[in-house]
């Protein structure tokens, strides 16, 4: 199973302008709700979950966040990719007292616990690979994002 099949055109945003997490999650929620990917409680849940268990990751030059929440509020699984025009603040996954400016958000709307190992591994590969991360962060359009995902998939398939 490849990571790119979870991408939805309407949930990829490049150089997106927003103020903070709440605005970002609200926008994702609205789009996901219109497309029947999530239930009504998604927004509340993801905001709450990010507060209790933040998902900011410091990966070298850039910071990334991978917000996700309970599978119960997902109808159809998706991965939303947002590159931010101006970085927004997230707390670190391993240190809630620290905030980092995040330039790339990969929001995981996964519905089945434990079932998405391969997809998650591909995601981690992208985050940990400097070149991939660079390309994602500097993506200018949909196609740039999709292309990084597809390349990662190919590399991952070759490895298996």
């Amino acid at each position: 199973m490849g990571i790119s099949q979870f991408l939805k055109d309407e949930l990829i945003f490049t150089e997106y302008v927003c103020e903070d997490q709440e605005q970002l999650f609200k926008m994702i929620h609205q789009v996901a709700k219109e497309n029947v990917y999530v239930y009504e409680d998604f927004f509340k849940k993801i905001l709450q979950r990010e507060k209790s268990y933040p998902t900011g990751l410091s990966v070298g030059e850039f910071n990334v966040a991978i917000p996700h929440t309970d599978p119960e509020c997902i109808i159809e699984p998706f991965i939303s990719v947002i590159t931010l025009f101006n970085p927004i603040s997230f707390h670190l996954m391993d240190d809630q007292s620290k905030e980092v400016d995040v330039s790339l958000v990969v929001l995981l709307g996964l519905s089945e616990p434990h079932a998405h190992l391969e997809v998650l591994q591909q995601l981690m590969y992208m985050i940990q690979d400097k070149q991939c991360l660079d390309q994602l962060i500097h993506a200018k359009c949909h196609d740039d994002v999709v292309s990084v995902f597809k390349t990662t998939e190919e590399i991952s398939n070759r490895g298996n």
């Binding site: 410091s58 996954m93 434990h114 998650l120 985050i127």
Partner: protein, 94 residues
Amino acid sequence: MKKYKILVACGAGIATSTIVCDRLEQLLKNNNIHSEIIQCKISEVATRQNEADLIVSTTILPTEYKIPAFNAVAYISGFGAEALDQKILNHLKA
């Protein structure tokens, strides 16, 4: 040979703990450490700690536990992953 029970936790018990479970399974298998890995939400750890030897968590630990706990964000970010491997092995072999 002792069989270790390891609780692998993250906030939702769905995403980051899945990555950590896989990494640990490989690590322990390659080092011939007999173990059972249980994936759970961090909120379940308090009630399940009595059945386990070790907690490996990607989120901040909300409380103190009776058993040792390791933070595993290194497996997610990639920074310090090998060092964490060693730390966990040293702990289990000690």
